[in-house]
Symmetry: C2
Subunit: 470 residues, 2 copies
């Protein structure tokens, strides 16, 4: 640890302990240097570090003061992720993605639905037809914001949901992850603060890290999925620029937040002038009669950038997503032209035909029915086998089950042990890297019930019981 | 301008004027504050800014000193690009890419070869066949480092050139821009120094900006294309971590650097332990008997990450590229998994068939023949029309002509004027944003000679003459 970090840490501790209060003036650089014995430069570096972390603010010539946010205890995870933990997350995610892709692994840790359910003969046929035609590659400029007809179709789908949308509001991206990353990059500068849910898609942590952002986490709410009071507190007290939230079939937990809460979120975003990047890749995977609404439904002031995708419903090859960017369309295209650039014109053209001719809705109906069946069966079978001190968080959307193991258990160890038996699961460390309680796993329940799957579940249960005793 | 920037600028001027020499100690913060009347914080910020720019270095407790690099005058462009110019480049590139893609524009400014030459019926047929097969999507894990067979094929092509290469050395990417960007991100941290050629593909400037890197530029050498002495000076004197160079059919100028110079570059890279990201997307577009070598040929120590692509030879839809990453394969996959993620499995599978069965070599032979013919004709026609005080830089590779207009002319204005007539050209501002001489344009000469093209050339000549008088 550098000297300035030591000094920063002890000042931080004094703030935490209530010795320094909001708007107190810190000793001048010279005074602090004489007090502490550190050089002027070390003192300045420490002050600037704390300023970057939001604990202090500077007034020119006059000196450094304690920031207001230091008064608030929103949850124990509000600190900025230290560098060494960041690296750890990346390695955990990297190894997890590598392990899960191996062909001989039972992929219950996979983030993607059962590929068998995604393949659609009509879509493959359309792709095949388009692949033979020159016009499929030439007809539309292969540049941001993407194929006009596809943007019109996506805009039309928003309109059907009662959301005012024009094709110019849409930017086509290489899947949803690209949409989310581009949006975050367009809306932030390094050092900005963003808000994430406590337990969240690991890609959000990685994006924050890559862009040099500070993360404030919002505690999970086991009831509604969303703690509005904590959310408002956070917006009031932290200099948050952007929230990145998933509120429908949330990954990894699975909850869907109510329309009433979403409406209130939209109001708060406007009130505090904070943007929302809304990750809504599972919006189509609802099993109820009505499609859940999004915060975008209630967004009158272009505070929400809504991200969706065809990748989770049509298979991994179809990496076509979008962001409803509104007036930020140009900003996003700027970033896109510097990085991911284009999206396959062939895929875009085939999607136009597929969606426009109602094949997509038919495919979604079938996909939902199968996912619903598979999930229910998987849930019943798992419930019958799991020890009593384990708990399944079941929600009737998406294709994940979030399983709570006894508090003493380490899901990372369970993951390692099962991998040796060629079974992958997703341990909670992927989704809540800062949290001390790591006794959760995410299971992909999109697979059809078979004898093999029964054996796999038995192996998992056996390993859970074994690790419990250890 | 902030106060600290004013102070930094005046100190910088003193270094430039030779008042401060390498290793001179600057006044302490307190002394400088008393001398200049600025606050301690302003002084510290100014010193830190200059340190970040490489003009100063700090020794703990002891203070700030003038860095050695300040003694060297490698060329007038060595300064770091100021923020306002950075933004300007992005807007220039953005508008240029937007303008050039419009369907009613004659695309002489385009970076891509004539699409008519790229379409290959066999490749479209293979794509169409693969699109119908489930296995084309499932057969290979759709994750970094990409399709094993395709990596084996690419490794085999290196081996044929006498370069030792294993499939594990290769990472498949979404085109060459992705390969270049991922390599740069994997090898650098914000604040690092990189070296670029003075006149260079604009994507290199954009990547440097996005990653917060400092850029040292190497002056163009009109004879050999590469000034080895200046290169060695730069490596000796600047803390350069990575070079990004294009040495075959260089974009935009068109020169190909000799094998002797490339060998020497490889030696210097090893000697100074500096990595090279070698942009070699036009390696296949040579019209001579022998394929030009790359610096990678002479790289015994894994200092070179060699980037190639199928996008420039098979059309914009086929955004499949690669980086010969060697031991950096894992580092690049880490970055890839956080950002661009996957490359179309369908395209990769179709490419495997296409390349393995020698269709690609056949396609390349035909492409080269047409490009050679079109370029020669275009060159003759342009030469016959251009005023005497203009000069064409002709090289027998690639599909660009680099045209030097009279010194007094502004190619950006010519670009704007021609755009009104629905003709796009690429002005030098895209490639040398820092340079004061902006009297160059890049013309795409991959199109077949027609009466329409003759008319377009006449319009360009007319506009050049008109602007010369103005």
């Amino acid at each position: 640890m550098y000297k300035f970090e030591k000094l920063a840490r002890s000042i931080h501790q004094m703030i935490e302990d209530g010795i320094w209060k909001a708007h107190d003036k810190l000793p001048s650089l010279r005074e602090q240097s004489e007090l502490s014995g550190y050089s002027l430069m070390t003192v300045l570096n420490a002050y600037q570090e704390l300023e970057a972390q939001g604990w202090l603010y500077a007034k020119d010539k006059s000196g450094y003061y304690i920031a207001e946010r230091a008064d608030l205890e929103i949850n124990s995870n509000k600190e900025i992720l230290p560098a060494q933990e960041k690296i750890q997350i990346n390695s955990v995610v990297f190894n997890y993605l590598k392990d899960t892709q191996a062909h001989d692994i039972v992929p219950l840790g996979s983030a993607f639905p059962n590929p068998e359910l995604l393949f659609n003969n009509k879509f493959m046929q359309l792709l095949s037809q388009h692949a033979k035609r020159k016009n499929s590659y030439l007809n539309h400029p292969n540049m941001p914001p993407g194929n006009l007809e596809l943007r019109q179709i996506i805009a039309g789908r928003y309109q059907l949901q009662g959301i005012s949308c024009h094709s110019d509001d849409i930017v086509i991206t290489s899947g949803a992850l690209d949409a989310l990353n581009l949006s975050l990059q367009a809306l932030t500068q390094p050092g900005d603060f963003i808000l994430l849910q406590e337990t969240v898609f690991y890609g959000a942590w990685q994006a924050a890290e890559r862009l040099g952002l500070n993360v404030v986490t919002l505690p999970d709410d086991p009831e509604s999925g969303f703690d509005l009071d904590a959310f408002e507190k956070a917006l009031k007290q932290y200099p948050i620029k952007v929230c990145w939230l998933m509120l429908n079939a949330q990954n990894p937990i699975g909850y869907t937040v109510s329309a009433i809460i979403k409406k209130k979120i939209a109001q708060l975003l406007f009130q505090y002038q904070v943007h929302l990047i809304e990750d809504d890749v599972y919006q189509e995977l609802n099993f109820g009669k009505e499609k859940p609404v999004s915060v975008k439904h209630f967004d009158q002031h272009n505070m929400v950038l809504h991200c969706g995708s065809f990748s989770k419903t049509l298979g991994m090859g179809a990496r076509v997503g979008w962001v409803f960017a509104g007036s930020y369309s140009n900003a996003i295209q700027h970033v896109q032209l510097m990085s991911t650039l284009t999206v396959s014109p062939l895929l875009q053209n085939a999607l136009v035909d597929f969606v426009a001719h109602h094949h997509y809705e038919k495919h979604l109906r079938s996909l939902r029915r199968h996912l619903d069946q598979n999930k229910k069966r998987f849930y019943q079978e798992l419930k019958g086998r799991l020890p009593e001190d384990c708990q399944i968080h079941y929600f009737p959307t998406g294709y994940f089950l979030w399983v709570e193991l006894p508090e003493s258990m380490d899901s990372q160890q369970l993951y390692i042990d099962l991998l040796e038996q060629k079974i992958s699961i997703a341990p909670s460390l992927l989704f809540r890297p800062k949290h001390t309680a790591q006794n959760f796993i995410r299971l992909n329940c999109s697979f059809e019930w078979t004898d093999e799957l029964a054996t796999t579940l038995d192996q998992i249960i056996y390993q859970i019981k074994k690790n419990k005793k250890a």
